[in-house]
């Protein structure tokens, strides 16, 4: 597998009246061709800021890349001018946003919105672009594309609109598709359709997807690899099986434990207490320590480095240090690590 995107020690800050907000504090990951990397975390963990930094959509000059590299096929896009970025955006990297309502221009026919990028980036003629737009609409599963291409966004339902957004994002065959909570605003049944759509398109076009979400169910459905973010850092990264069946970081335990299983109606949910830290003054040591019931003394002194669990699996917690006491995940989490679904399927069989 070849590395398409490498993010190295990315740091993003926002200047505010109260001081500098350290939104992303050193994020390193890479993305291979054709894979889906899910970034999960709470709101404020820096997952959206990371993706906006890759797209260079930070609200400059308030928000800026403080340090680090973003290598797209070896070229550092953190150093590109905004003119050069315009050529990359939409063509090499494109983005699907959370809200299908506001990511389409309500006064423009959807056909023209798809064709815009084609004409600009691929120098197509109007006729060619229209033909490609029709193909794209067919690809994203919109019935009767020849009629729908001349309609306005308000004539589409929420799910259909998100399909159009996906079609626009795919128009120029991007190498990387960044999806920032693309299904959060949608109903479950529509969400399922969009997820299926994205997976099938990925198979056809072999583009890589960065999928940002806080829904672990969606992660399990779409991701090949998962990065868990907390307080501007990746605390655990691994394949989807590593993260769900062998999580090592207490925060990941908390995330998994807080999802109810289908037979768990009697036990209390394993919630993470407290609230995320204020990124204006990131705490000394491990940022998660104040909410971590398994915190060690060293957490208050020093930030944990990434410990290697396996070739694909890394986690930043002192619990993995050889000197650390052996701590097992709580029962509720262990129970879920066996496989969530089995527990619920006893009675019905079908679901």
């Amino acid at each position: 597998m070849s590395k398409l995107l490498e993010v190295k020690d990315l740091k993003v800050s926002f200047n505010t009246y109260n001081g500098e907000v350290h939104a992303v504090r050193g994020v390193t990951f890479d993305l291979n061709k054709g894979e889906t990397l899910a970034i999960v975390g709470e709101s404020g963990s820096g997952k959206s800021v990371t993706s906006n930094a890759i797209m260079r959509l930070l609200p400059e000059p308030h928000g800026y890349i403080k340090e680090g590299q973003i290598l797209l096929e070896g070229e550092d896009i953190a150093k590109k001018t905004s003119k050069e970025m315009q050529k990359i955006r939409g063509k090499d990297i494109s983005m699907v946003f959370q809200d299908p309502m506001s990511s389409l221009n309500p006064t423009m026919k959807i056909g023209n919105q798809i064709m815009e990028g084609l004409i600009k980036h691929q120098n197509m003629s109007k006729q060619e672009a229209r033909k490609t737009a029709l193909e794209l609409l067919t690809l994203v599963g919109i019935p009767r594309p020849d009629v729908r291409i001349d309609q306005y966004p308000h004539q589409f339902s929420g799910g259909m609109r998100q399909r159009v957004v996906v079609a626009i994002a795919l128009a120029c065959n991007p190498k990387i598709l960044i999806a920032d909570e693309p299904t959060t605003a949608l109903d479950v049944t529509i969400q399922a359709q969009i997820l299926e759509l994205m997976k099938s398109i990925q198979q056809k076009t072999d583009s890589a997807i960065i999928f940002i979400t806080h829904d672990l169910g969606v992660v399990a459905n779409v991701a090949d690899r998962v990065a868990v973010m907390y307080a501007g850092k990746i605390v655990e990264i691994g394949t989807v099986d590593d993260i769900f069946y062998n999580p090592k970081h207490p925060y990941t335990w908390g995330l998994i434990g807080s999802m109810p299983t289908l037979d768990s109606s009697d036990e209390e949910l394993f919630a993470i207490p407290g609230s995320p830290p204020n990124m204006l003054t990131p705490p000394v040591g491990d940022a998660f320590a104040p909410r971590n019931q398994f915190a060690l003394e060293i957490d208050t002194v020093m930030e944990p480095p990434m410990f290697k669990v396996s070739d694909t699996h890394y986690a930043a917690t002192w619990l993995l240090h050889p000197d650390a006491p052996k701590i097992e995940p709580p029962d509720a989490v262990k129970h879920r690590m066996q496989g969530f679904a089995q527990t619920g399927t006893k009675g019905g069989g079908k679901r």
């Binding site: 200047n15 505010t16 009246y17 109260n18 308030h62 207490p273 407290g274 609230s275 204020n278 204006l280 003054t281 320590a289 104040p290 909410r291 398994f294 915190a295 060690l296 003394e297 060293i298 957490d299 208050t300 002194v301 020093m302 480095p305 002192w318 240090h321 050889p322 000197d323 650390a324 006491p325």
Partner: protein, 384 residues
Amino acid sequence: MDKNNLNNIPKDLFVPLVRKEDTSEKISAPSRTFFQDAKRTLLGNKPAVFSMILILFIIIMSIVGPWMNDFGSDEQDLKRAKMPPRVPVLENVSWLGMDGTLSGKFQGKDVQQATAKANARFDNKEEFIDIKVLNKGDGTRNSAEVEATYRIYEAKDMKDTYFWFGSDALGRDQWTRLWEGTRVSLIIAFVAAVLDLVIGVAYGGISAFYGGRVDNVMQRIAEILVGIPNLVIILLMMLVLKPGIISIVIALSITGWIGMSRIVRGEVLKLKNQEFVLASRTLGTSNGTIIRKHLVPNISGIIIINTMFSVPGAIFFEAFLSFIGLGIVPPDASLGSLIDLGFDNLRLYPYMLVFPAIVISVLMIAFNIVGDGLRDAFDPKMHK
């Protein structure tokens, strides 16, 4: 961090953390209210602060200004009409134009003719006219040029009299009239603002809060009112009332508040379906309390901003009416009527226009800058 370093960590650090207190729910940021934030943003905005100081200065001057010299605003005396500005001390700085002289350039076919023109212009009081030859001329028409400076205060034997901003065509002190006029303009502006506040807020608030048919009827009435041009109302008013402050205020109160009422209506419509208002209703809170505790505090910012923007509008409206002769009537002065008078004598006595024009411009710009500053201050997004 390399491997060695990791192995050198003392083992006693690898023990479960003993927590002294539960800090997981602690809020570290200092507590600040919305209005504190707004105040800070506003005071950080230098143009707005400067404008506020200017407005304050003008308001104070409009109160104390007329008392600062001995002239009354309606003391007519044709003998001292159209005197130029003269200020003690500053009269020695010639380029300021505060030295109580009139000057002008005169042309003729030779110096003599030009001088004769100058003398004719300045009451033929040759001993008080200083002639400076700029161009001797060659005998052709208008080739010679002289600059004449007329020491009018000496000529009229008023060596100890100082009209700081000069006097008008009827010999009234411009300084006194300017500040009295400013006072009239400000009174009209503030009355307009208060009307905006009272009628506009109440009308918009009631219309939105009760909604449905009430809203429908009230909005149609407002639309009809806004459809009548202001000037028509003013002209009709002239048939019933005499021109003056009262008729201007009435004209303003008929339609001036509609902009405010629309803004308030929009805000209330938005707010009344917010969940905190619904929550308050499920608690059984009465409508009055909901309006007082939930709606008013949340629209106060936008009301203040709009009031600030409606003030310069009203000042301008008054000036416009006075300028076209429908507003304040003499002997009362307002900024508009002063400008009107000054405009008539613009060529020969520009000072009669300049001072009221500067005051009205400064007032309007300052109010707009303060309004802008307030808008930023009440916008939570601007509280970085």
